[in-house]
C-alpha cells in the first residue's frame, strides 16, 4: 500500500507484536506483584511497591540506559542469558522487555485496586472447602479480579504502543527488528518536512490503541453483566 511506506507497515506490525507480547508476558508478573502488594504482609512490601513504580518515575532514557547496562551481551546478566539462548539486545524481544517494564507500574496499579476489592470472606470460604492458597488464588481471587486485569492490560498495551525513550536507548532502531511505531515517528520528526509521514503513523497508532480500548470496555461491560 502506498499510503504508508513498507517500512511504515513493518513498524506497525512490529509495534503490535511487541506491545502484545509485552502485555501478555508482563501480565502474570503484574498480577503476582499486585497480589503481593494487596494481600501480602511481608517485610519489604514498601520497597517492592517503590521499585515497581520506578519506570514511571525515571525518565525513559534512564530506564533504557539501565536496561542496556544490565542486558547488554557483555554485561554479566546479558551474557548469562545469552548462554541460555535468550537475547534481548537489538532484538524485538528487547523492545518488548522495555515496553513491558515501562507499562508494568500501570498494570500493577489497576490490578491491585481490583484485588483489594475482592471480598476476603470469599477466599476464606474457599479455604474451608479444602482449597489451598494457590487454588484459592486461581479459582476465586483471579476470576473476580478479571475486570481490573483487563483494565490493567489495556493500560499496559497502550503504554507499550507509545513507548519510545527506553526502547530506542535499549534496543536502538533496526527496521523490521526493533523499529517500533514511536521510533519511526521520531525518525520522521527529526528531518525537516517529515511531519506528514509522522502524522500518518500517528494515526495508525491511535487507531490501534482505540481498538484496544474499545475492546476492553466491551469486555468489562460483558464481565459486569454476567
Amino acid at each position: 500500500m502506498s499510503w504508508l511506506s513498507p517500512d511504515g507497515w513493518q513498524a506497525v506490525a512490529l509495534s503490535l507484536r511487541v506491545s502484545l507480547v509485552a502485555t501478555v508476558v508482563a501480565l502474570p508478573f503484574a498480577v503476582a506483584v499486585a497480589y503481593a502488594l494487596a494481600r501480602g504482609q511481608f517485610r519489604g512490601r514498601g520497597v517492592l511497591n517503590a521499585v515497581v513504580h520506578l519506570p514511571l518515575i525515571l525518565p525513559p532514557v534512564v530506564t533504557g540506559y539501565l536496561l542496556l547496562v544490565v542486558f547488554a551481551p557483555r554485561a554479566p546478566v546479558g551474557a548469562a542469558l545469552d548462554a541460555l539462548g535468550i537475547r534481548f539486545a537489538f532484538h524485538w524481544t528487547g523492545a518488548a522487555l522495555a515496553a513491558g517494564i515501562m507499562g508494568f507500574p500501570l498494570m500493577v496499579r489497576a490490578i491491585r485496586l481490583a484485588i483489594e476489592a475482592v471480598d476476603p470472606g470469599l477466599e476464606a470460604a474457599a479455604g474451608t472447602l479444602g482449597a489451598n492458597r494457590w487454588r484459592v488464588f486461581w479459582t476465586v481471587t483471579l476470576p473476580l479480579t478479571l475486570p481490573g486485569i483487563i483494565a490493567g492490560a489495556v493500560l499496559g498495551f497502550a503504554k507499550a504502543l507509545g513507548e519510545f525513550g527506553a526502547t530506542i536507548t535499549f534496543v536502538s532502531n533496526i527496521p523490521g527488528q526493533t523499529q517500533t511505531l514511536p521510533s519511526a515517528i521520531y525518525a520522521f520528526l527529526q528531518v525537516p518536512g517529515g511531519e506528514g509521514d509522522a502524522a500518518r503513523l500517528v494515526i495508525v497508532s491511535v487507531l490501534l490503541a482505540f481498538g484496544a480500548l474499545g475492546l476492553s470496555e466491551w469486555l468489562a461491560r460483558r464481565e459486569r453483566q454476567r
Binding site: 547488554a72 557483555r74 536502538s172 532502531n173 533496526i174 521510533s183 527529526q190
Partner: protein, 218 residues
Amino acid sequence: EVTVFAASSMKTVLDRIIAGQDVRVSYAGSAALARQIIQGAPADLFISASPEWMDAVEAEGLVTERQDLLSNRLVLVSYDPAPPVDLRKFDILAALKGGKLAMGLVDAVPAGIYGKAALESLGQWEALAPHVAQVDNVRNALALVSSGAAPMGIVYATDAMAAPDIHVVGLFPKDSHPKIIYPVATLNDRPTTLAVLELLNSYKARKIFRAGGFEVLE
C-alpha cells in the same frame, strides 16, 4: 540575559565557554530546537548540529546573522582495543564479527546521515545496512559501544575523545561525506546577543572548542 538554543552535543564545551556569563543554554535535539524557534521560542542564538534545520529557521525569516561555527570528524570506535587503521582499506563488516554497528538514525539525525554517506562512498553501506543499530542521538550510539552492546559504532570525534573507555579505530576521510557543519545564528540584533556571538568567536572559545575536538571554521 541571553538564551542560547544549542544542540545537546555542544554541552561540554559550551558550558565552559559561557561559564560566569549571564547566558542560559537550552540543550536538546536540533530538530526540537529548530521547531521551537520557528514557533516563537524566546531564543537569542541558535547553534544547530545540522545545516538543514538552520535552513528551516532561516526560511522563516528569523535569522539575523548566520555563520558556520564549527566542524567535526566522524570516527569509527570500538569496545575492544584495536590498532588504528585506514578506514579506506578496512572491512568493518568483518571486524563486527556478527555484532551491530551503532549509529545515529541514518535518515534522521545528523551523525547518522553523515555516517551513512561515508559508508556509501567507501562502498560498505550495502553490506553493513542490515547490521546497523540506529539510535536517536550520537550519545546513545556511544553508550551502545561503551556498554559492549555493539562492538563498534560511528560517532563524532568529539564524543570519542571524551569517552575514555572506548577505542578509536579510525577517522573517516573528510571527503567521504558532506562536510560536517555546526552553524550558529543570531535571532535578533540585541547587543547582548551579539556579544555572545562575539564570545563564541573569541580566542578563548576557539581554544576550548579545539580542546573538545572540534575544528573551528573561520
